[in-house]
Structures are given as C-alpha cells and as structure tokens.
C-alpha cells in the first residue's frame, strides 16, 4: 500500500512539473485561440538564456539573470506578435498554429547557435534532497516547484479574474471581433499574453533545466505535457494544473 501512495504522490509531483508547461499552452490558447507549438522551445530558450547570463557569457547574480531572462522572453514576445502573428490576424486558426511551428524551429535554431548544443548544468540553489515520510520518499525539489506552480496558478487566476488587463484578455479570447469593437487592442492583448507565457516558460525552463540540465530535450517536454493539457482543458488555467491525471499515468505505467 505504501508503494501505491508513493507512486501516487510522485505522480502528482511529476504532474505539477508538467503543468508548468501546460500553463503556458493554456494561457496563449485562452487569449488568442492559438495552439502554441513553441511552448517547449520557449522554455528551452529561457533556460539557455538564464545559463548564458549566469555562467556561460556573464556572471550576473541570480535575481538579475532571472530579470534579464524575462527581458529576453519579452523581446521574443514582441517579435512573435508583431513580426509573425500580426500579418496573420483574421486568417484561419490553422495558419496561426503553423506559424508557431516556425517560431519553434527558429527558437531552437537561434538558441543552439548562440548558446551551443552542449548540455549545461543549472544549479540555482534549490535544495534537491530526498527525505522519508512514513516510508515514502519525497523530494524537496519537487515540493519547492509544487509550491511555485501553486503560486503561479493562483497569481494567474487572480490576474485573469480581477485585473483590467486580465479581463481584456478574457474578452479577446471569447470573441476577437467583439473585443475589438469595444476598443480592446488585439495586438496589445496578444503581446501581454505572450509576455506572461514567456515568464511561465522561464519558470518551467528553470524547473526542468535544474532537473535535466539545460539541453535541447527541454523542447520535447511540451509534447509530454499535452495529455495534462487535454485533460485539464485547453483554455483552463486551473485545469492545466491538474496533475492527478499524471499521477494516474504513473500508476498505469508501473503496472504495464
């Protein structure tokens, strides 16, 4: 029985890690009806940029490196919205979707060109110790990021429900044309969403990069997060954080 609970709890923790990626998907889909294939690549790029600021090219303190990384992701958001997506406004959603494929390849390519293809270790001082509670191994690292994910989700829910910009984004996601007709600038709303998605991708990049090392495979995590996203709901932020499914997946994997 202890084994069952261990698998269940570990599965929950893994699910939370995936939900960090799923959150980014849900955010963009919610605001722009675009299924963003580049979400994994965004996490990869954020991870690479952070390593670049911390160790590879500069030796900035962690807070500044994180800030600069968010800055880089903001520049990306600008490029994506005003260079890639702007000419595609009012085109079928499939075109926007395909454009994000292009963004994915672009990010992966530029990332590898600037930062190289070597796997890089990332240690920002988050404790990674395991301890035993009632015969169940828990990891302080997993717990830390479970906390981070909870804060992120709560923050985003608050942002979408309570703030003026959040409401504007919800309006855009409900109906582009109606939102435009009441004076909500579509591109500005998208820009804001991509910036937020960039911040979420940075958190995911840090979490997964610390765990696996910052390397190209981070880009694949997005695909593994898809089941979490589908079950949680494509446009649901609380839904993206539905790691129970992942827990069930772990139990099933164990039995197979």
């Amino acid at each position: 029985m202890a084994f069952f609970f261990e698998v269940l709890i570990t599965g929950l923790m893994v699910g939370i890690m995936y939900s960090l990626i799923a959150l980014g998907f849900a955010l963009i889909f919610k605001a722009s009806d675009v299924f963003n294939m580049a979400q994994g690549a965004m996490s990869l790029f954020a991870g690479l940029a952070l390593v670049g600021f911390l160790h590879q090219y500069m030796h900035l303190p962690l807070w500044l490196a994180l800030l600069c990384t968010v800055g880089v992701m903001t520049i990306w958001a600008y490029v994506i919205v005003f260079v890639v997506l702007k000419p595609l406004v009012n085109r079928p959603p499939l075109m926007l979707f395909m454009a994000t494929f292009g963004v994915m390849y672009l990010m992966e390519g530029i990332g590898q060109s600037i930062y190289g293809t070597q796997a890089k270790g990332l240690n920002i001082g988050i404790p990674d110790n395991s301890f035993e509670v009632a015969g169940i191994f828990m990891s302080s690292f997993d717990l830390f990021f479970a906390g981070v994910a909870a804060v992120l989700v709560a923050g985003l829910i608050w942002f979408f429900q309570k703030t003026r910009n959040g409401r504007a984004l919800r309006a855009v996601s409900d109906d582009h044309e109606a939102a435009l007709s009441v004076g909500i600038p579509l591109l500005k709303a998208w820009y804001l969403t991509w910036i937020i998605a960039g911040i979420v991708a940075t958190v995911a990049g840090v979490a997964w990069g610390t765990r696996l090392g910052v390397q190209f495979s981070l880009s694949y995590i997005a695909f593994k997060a898809l089941p979490v996203l589908i079950i949680g709901g494509l446009d649901s932020i609380p839904g993206a954080n539905r790691p129970l499914f992942q827990a069930l997946r772990s139990v099933r994997k164990r039995d197979s």
Binding site: V7, Q112, A119, N123, Q215, S217
Partner: protein, 448 residues
C-alpha cells in the same frame, strides 16, 4: 566622374579576378587526388553533444593526415558534412546525397544503420557502425558490407556481466565459477524503448538463463526525460542489485538523479558507452559521482597522436570543434573510428596501389585489417585504442570493453579491459544473422 570611377572599379575587379582564377588554376595543377568522405553528422538537436564530438574527431584526424601530406603522401582527404539531427529519414536523405561519391558511411545512429544496411549493400558502400547498430552484423558472411568494429552491443553486455561478477568477488578468469557469483543477483536493464535500446534484451535473457541471475527490462518511453515510475519500480519493487543504464542523450542523465532521490548508490549503475560521456554526467551534478560506464577507447589528450592534433591542427587554427572538447569521450570515439578507417585504407593501398579507393577495395581493406599492439604504438595511440584483427567472417575485430568511473570531474579508467564471452556471443550472432539471411533471402557467402 562617377562613370569614370565605376569603370575603374569594374576594370580593377576584372583584373583581380583574372589573377585569382589563374592562381587557382595553377594550384589545381599541383592538387593531389582526393578521397571523398561523406559525414552524416548531427550538430543540432537533442543528441548534438554526441554528434558534434564524433564528427569533429573524425575531421580532426583527417585534417592531421592532410597536414602530413595526405594518405601515403599522395591522396588527400576531402570531406563534407550532412546534418541528420539523428533523424533516420534525414540520414537516408544525406546518404542519397553522398552515395555516388563516397566509399564508406558511418551512420552514427542505430536507426539510420538499420535503414542503410540494405541500401548500402546494393550500392557497394561500406557501413561502419562502431559500437552501435545491429550486433549480428558482426557476421561478415551475411553482412558483407557492414562492420561493427571494434565491438558490438552483445560483446559489451557479456563483458558487463563479467565485470559485475568481478565486483561481486569473481576472479575474472575461471568462467566455470562465474555462475556462483552471479546466481540470484537482480539486474535491471533500464533501456530507452527504441530499436537501439531493445538490442541487448536477447543476450541478457540468454545470460540470465545460463548463469542464474535475474534480469528485468524496464523500457523508458522516448525521449526519456521522465523516469520516476521506472525507478520506483527498480528500487522499491524489483530491488535491483545492479542497474544497466542503456539510454541516449538526456535519458542517460535522468537515471542518475532519480537514483540519488531514491538513495540507490550511483556506483551500482553501469552505463552503456553511449551513456558514458562528460555531457551525460555533468548535468546530473554530484548525483553522478561514482557512476560507472563502459567504453571501447581511451579518454583524454594524453596520447601522442592527440597531442599532435593539438599542436598541428589546433596550432594552425584548423580544428573542427571547440578546443576544450578535444580529448573528450565522443571526440576520441570519432577520432579512433577515423584511425581504423585510415588503417583499412592503408591496407587496401598495399593490395590495390596508392589511389582513390572504391567501396569494394575499401571493404577488402576492412576485412584484412590487422592493427597490432606494435602498430598502435607506431600510430601514437597506445591506450587510446585496442588491437583489431578482422576477417571475412568476423567484422567485429576486437571486442574488448573498457570500464571507467566518473569521479565528479572527469572520467577515470578503472583499469579493467575485459574480453567478452566471445564464443557465447559469436553463437548468438551467427544464429541471429542466419535468421536475418533467411528472412531476407540472402545466401551467406563462404569464408575460407
């Protein structure tokens, strides 16, 4: 004035281009014939760390030979890369691009090897899968165009089991007593769930039956970034004594972290040689310290030939990779593969004369390789590579497996260089190759 100036510039450019082209023509008169090498590389994508090291190692060796005046002083190496990103479809595309001018191919991926074997056999191009690909391709009677030199996965796994028995107290010599030390041991084969990962299941099962240990296979879905479920199973339910880490890329690193989390000792994990590079362990940090892996060549720069590359090739700023990676695991692997190919070319030159070789002539060279200890010393690669002797039937040639341990900063050789269970492996190779021949309607050639 403007027209005059543009006319002057035009005339100058014209004159300069005449001078340059005549200079080039003069240079080409002195040009030596070139042996073309098509390189299937992957400098991008999830396995770029491996791909860039392997390719650059080969290129640096060829650059060194060219700087020495070429192969036998008469033929120059010429090479071109094609990016596969470790993708089988792109690998085949690259092969098609090069096939009319190349004589050998290193697919650098088990998947691409599987795809190229029938094609290359038809095109008479030698396929060299050094330490990867089909283990049964070591049978030269069924696979005349494929070489698994210097060792294959099945040899590696028998050496691994011998090494594990040695850690359990076996003397490493008397095969009749090995079973005593292996009996009852639980060995987990954690493998990535692709053809490469599945390749060693039959040999491990056969050995488990023969020596009385228990082996269980734990497949990891591609790309293997999440292995929590498998590790809980390995540590909590199966309670493994040893774990074989048979992954690739990021999936090599994840087990080290997971093991640490479940307090499974890292020195009870033994990696395949594709999980034994610096790039595989560095991201795992302290969790990797003590981890063992196999290898089939030496690591570092402390070999005369590598030192020569450092002096000549990098001294002339003609290196093909960042200098810090010279001497790393994947770099040396590519470098050793290029040495072996070069020796085969020299062997073929002895028979066919010093000329640009065809696939068939090169194959003859590969089948008549005899790189002795003395020759290795002469090359300046003592400790970097093992003696090799191939034949018509034996396309593996060596089979020796090296063992190394990560000390937290670098790979350190344990000093164990283990001979595989040759007879046992050969029996299985012949059986499997015969099955392949039957399936494909191939009549194995007779080897004298």
């Amino acid at each position: 004035m403007g027209r005059k100036l543009s006319f002057t510039i035009f005339a100058l450019v014209l004159v300069a281009s005449f001078i340059l082209s005549s200079g080039q023509a003069m240079a080409s008169e002195e040009k030596k014939p070139e042996q073309f090498v098509g390189l299937l590389a992957y400098r991008t994508g999830p396995f770029a760390a491996g791909g860039s090291g392997l390719t650059s190692g080969k290129e640096d060796f060829m650059a060194l030979i060219n700087m020495r005046g070429g192969i036998n002083g008469k033929i120059m190496y010429k090479w071109e890369e094609c990016e596969t990103a470790y993708n089988a479809a792109r690998g085949v595309e690259c092969y098609n691009r090069f096939k009319n001018k190349m004589f050998k191919v290193h697919p650098e991926s088990t998947g691409i090897t599987y795809a190229l074997i029938p094609k290359a056999t038809k095109d008479k191009i030698v396929v060299i899968s050094s330490g990867y690909g089909r283990a049964d391709a070591s049978d030269g009677r069924v696979f005349p165009w494929v070489f698994t030199i210097p060792t294959n996965y099945w040899s590696q796994n028998t050496a691994k089991i011998k090494w594990i028995a040695m850690q359990e107290g076996w003397d490493g010599k008397d095969m009749s007593t090995i079973g005593k030390y292996l009996k009852g041991l639980k060995i987990a084969n954690l493998h990535i769930d692709v053809p490469y990962g599945q390749e060693t299941k039959p040999i491990l099962d056969a050995m488990a039956k023969k020596f009385g240990f228990k082996v269980r296979h734990f497949p990891v879905p591609w790309p293997g970034i999440d292995q929590k479920a498998q590790w809980m199973d390995i540590v909590r339910r199966f309670k493994a004594d040893w774990v074989i880490n048979r992954n690739w890329g990021v999936s090599c690193t994840v087990p080290l972290k997971e093991a640490a989390r479940l307090k499974f000792p890292s020195n009870r994990i033994l990696g395949v040689w594709w999980c034994g590079a610096e790039e595989d362990v560095l991201p795992a940090g302290p969790a990797a310290k003590g981890y063992y892996s196999t290898n089939f060549h030496g690591v570092g720069r402390d070999f005369p030939i590598i030192k020569e590359v450092v002096d000549k090739v990098y001294g002339a700023m003609k290196g093909n990779i960042s200098f810090t990676r010279v001497g790393s695991v994947y770099y040396n692997r590519g470098f050793v593969a290029a040495i072996v190919d070069h020796e085969a070319i020299l062997t073929a030159h002895k028979k066919f004369g010093v000329k640009v070789l065809t696939g068939e002539e090169f194959r003859w060279g590969m089948e008549h390789l005899n790189i002795t200890k003395e020759r290795i010393k002469e090359i300046g690669a003592e400790g970097l590579m093992q003696p090799l002797k191939t034949s018509c039937a034996d396309h593996e040639g060596g089979g020796m497996v090296f063992f190394q341990q990560w000390d937290g900063k670098k790979w350190v050789s344990t000093g164990d260089v283990i001979t595989p269970m040759r007879k046992f492996v050969r029996g299985m190779i012949e059986k499997s190759a015969a099955k392949y021949a039957k399936e494909k309607g191939i009549t194995p050639r007779t080897c004298k």
